[in-house]
Point group: C2
DNA sequence: TTACCGAGTGGAACCGGTTCCACTTTTGTA
DNA sequence: TACAAAAGTGGAACCGGTTCCACTCGGTAA
C-alpha cells in the first residue's frame, strides 16, 4: 500500500514551485508559461496525481458537495429523485451525500449537523416540517438550501421546487367528475404539510367548480409513514355511503392503499375509480393499470440542483425562488363512470 | 452570514490550549483533567462548536465516508440497498457518497477516481466487470473494497457479499419442475457476470436432477440495461416450441419482461408460469401476484457495511471474505401446472 | 531528601491544498 | 533607449484539525 502523490511531489518532479502547479490546476487563479504548463501536466499524468478534496475544502471553507436529505430511498419517488440528482450532480463535478430522515425531525436535525460538519455547499431536502431554527442556522452559516416537493411555511425565503400540487389535484378531481362521480374520496398528506394543503385546495376547487359539496368524511389526512393509507381505504369503503372515486394524493401511501384495495377484492374501476399521485414503473403493471399524476421527477431534480449550484456559485440574484413544474395526468383504465349502485340510488 | 467557531475559538474561550480541546474531542488521545474537560465541554456547547470534517480528514489521511457505487437508483433493488446502507452507516457515524455507473465501465472509472479524491475509507460496489486495474489501484491506496451482489473473477481477493445465487436459481427451477414443467426458460444476466454464471449453474443443476435436458434456446443472457428482457420474452414466446415456465433471474430486466408479458396478453399462470428474481413491493400487486426470489437486501447491506467498516478499523483478519446469504422463495399464484398444450403434445 | 514516574499541559509541526505578495523577467510603448 | 506595465515565478502564510514532544507539576519509592 503506497501513498498517493501530493502537489509537492508534482512540483518537485516538474522542477517548479507548488504555486505553479496549483495555478495549472486552477487556470483562473494566475498565469503560467505555456511550456511549464505542459511540463507540469505531463508530470501529473505520469504520477497519476489527483488533488485531495479534503485539502481543497479546508482551504476553500466549503466543499463541492451537496447533501440530499429525503425521507427514505425505499420510496420510488425519492429513489428516482436521488438517481437524477446524483446523475446530474456528477456532470457538474459535484458529489452527493445522501441522508434519510424517516420523516423524523430528530433524525433530520442530526443529518443537518452532519452535513454542516462536512461543509457542504448546499442541501436539497424534502423537509419534515420541523427544525425551523436549524434550517435557519444552516442558511446563516452559508449553506444554500433548496426544498423539493414540499415547503415550510415558516421559511418563506427558501427556494422551493415542486409540482403544481393544487392544479394536479384539481385535474385528477375534474377527471372523475367528468366521468360522473360525485362522491370522490381524497387520501392526502398531513394538513401541516404544504403538499397536503395545496392538493386539498385543488380538490376543493374542482368540487366547487362542479357545485358538489365537500364531504369532510371523504378527505383523509394520512401520515407519510406507516400503513395509514390502507387503513383509510378500509374505513372509507366500510362506510354505508362509500365513495365511487378515490384519489390517493399521498405518494408515500399509494402502495399501502393499493395493496389494501387488492386485498379487499375491490373491483377497479367497477366498484371504485382510482387515481394515484406519482406514476411508478409498476402503476401500469397492476390490473387494471392505474391512472396517475406523473411527477416530472427529472425536472424536479434538475431545477433543484440548478438552484443549489447557482447559489453556490453566486450567479443567482438574491431572493427566494419558487419553481412549480407541471405534472402530467396519465389516464389509464382504473377510471370509469360510477356504477348505479344501491348506495347511490338511496341518495336520490 | 457568520462563520462557524473553530477549535481555536473554543480553546481561547475556555482558556486552554487547542491540544486540550482536541484531547477532549478524542478521549483516547491523551489525558485531560476532569475539571478542564467539563469546562471545555461547556464552551463547546455554548458556542455550538462542531469539528470540521475536512480538517480532520486532511490530518487523518482518510475520511469517515464510504462510497456506494451502484448501477442506478431507479432500480428498486439498488434503491433499497442504498437505503439500508445509508441508514446503517449513519448509526456508525459514517456518511455515504452515492455514485451511479449505468453499467458503463467508463463512468465507473470516473466514480472511483472521484471517490479516491475524497479519500473515502471504503467502497461498496456492484462492479460493472471492467476496470480491474483501477480496482487494484484503489485497494493499493488503502481503500477497502467490498463487492455486493456481483463479483469479479479477476479480483479473487476482494470481499464479496451476495445471495446464494446458484441455490436460489435451483430452487426456482425445482419449483417449476415439481409443478410438471419441462420447458423452462431462463432470462439472466450476461455470462460475463458472476450472477449470470451462478444462476445458470443452479438452473442447470435442477434440470439435471430431473433428467431434463437443457435446451440452449431457452436460456437468454440479457444485458442489465435496455429493454432486452422484453425482447427475450417476445422471442421466447414466438417460438413454435414455447416454454411453459419462465424464470426472470436478471433483476434489472424484471420490469421490462413483465411489461412485455402484460402487453402480449399472456395469461399467467395459464399460458406461462413465472418466477422473478427480486421481490419488489409491486410484485404482489400485479395480477396475478408474482412468485419471487426475495433477496434479503437488509442483510446484504448490513454485511457489506460491516465488512467495510471492519476493514477500515482494522479489526478484521487479512484475507478476502465471501458472504453468501440465503434468499427466500416466495410462492404466489403466478405458477401452476402447465396446460396440456398443442405444442406440448407434439413433443410427446 | 533526592530521584523518578506519570498525569496534565501547551507549543509547534504537519496534513495538502490555495492564495497573497514580493520579486524577476518580458513585453509594449513613448 | 528608457521605463512602465504585464507576465511569470516562488516563498510563506493560511484553512482547522491531530499529534508529537518538551515541560511542569505533584506523588511515591529509594
Amino acid at each position: 500500500m503506497k501513498k498517493a502523490p501530493t502537489i509537492r511531489d508534482v512540483a518537485a518532479a516538474a522542477g517548479v514551485s507548488v504555486s505553479v502547479v496549483s495555478r495549472v490546476l486552477n487556470p483562473e487563479s494566475g498565469p503560467v508559461a505555456p511550456a511549464k504548463r505542459e511540463q507540469v501536466l505531463n508530470v501529473i499524468r505520469e504520477l497519476g496525481y489527483r488533488p485531495r478534496a479534503a485539502a481543497r475544502e479546508l482551504s476553500a471553507g466549503h466543499a463541492l458537495t451537496v447533501g440530499l436529505v429525503v425521507t427514505d430511498l425505499a420510496n420510488p419517488f425519492f429513489a428516482q429523485l436521488a438517481d437524477r440528482v446524483v446523475w446530474e450532480a456528477r456532470s457538474h463535478g459535484v458529489q452527493v451525500v445522501v441522508m434519510t430522515t424517516q420523516e423524523d425531525p430528530h433524525l433530520e436535525a442530526e443529518s443537518l449537523d452532519t452535513l454542516l460538519d462536512r461543509s457542504v455547499g448546499g442541501v436539497i431536502a424534502t423537509p419534515t416540517g420541523g427544525n425551523v431554527e436549524k434550517w435557519d442556522r444552516l442558511r446563516d452559516l452559508g449553506v444554500n438550501v433548496v426544498f423539493v416537493d414540499r415547503a415550510i411555511a415558516e421559511l418563506s425565503d427558501v427556494d422551493v421546487v415542486s409540482i403544481e400540487n393544487s392544479d394536479s389535484a384539481r385535474r385528477a378531481t375534474d377527471h372523475l367528475i367528468a366521468l360522473g362521480h360525485e362522491r370522490i374520496a381524497l387520501i392526502t398528506g398531513p394538513a401541516s404539510t404544504s403538499t397536503g394543503r395545496s392538493r386539498i385546495g385543488g380538490y376543493r376547487a374542482a368540487l366547487e367548480g362542479a357545485s358538489i359539496s365537500l364531504d369532510p368524511m371523504l378527505v383523509r389526512h394520512v401520515p407519510f409513514r406507516g400503513d395509514g393509507g390502507g387503513d383509510a381505504v378500509g374505513s372509507l369503503l366500510a362506510s354505508p355511503d362509500a365513495p365511487t372515486g378515490l384519489i390517493v394524493a399521498n405518494t408515500a401511501q399509494v402502495q399501502s392503499s393499493v395493496r389494501r384495495l387488492v386485498q379487499m377484492g375491490v373491483r377497479i374501476p367497477d366498484d371504485l375509480s382510482v387515481i394515484v399521485f406519482d406514476d411508478n414503473p409498476w402503476t401500469e403493471l397492476t390490473s387494471p393499470p392505474l391512472s396517475a399524476i406523473r411527477q416530472p421527477i427529472g425536472m424536479l431534480a434538475l431545477h433543484s440542483l440548478e438552484l443549489v449550484l447557482g447559489r453556490m456559485q453566486g450567479r443567482l440574484p438574491a431572493g427566494a425562488r419558487t419553481i412549480e413544474v407541471m405534472a402530467d395526468f396519465v389516464p389509464r383504465s382504473s377510471c370509469a363512470a360510477p356504477a348505479r349502485s344501491a348506495t347511490k340510488s338511496v341518495t336520490r
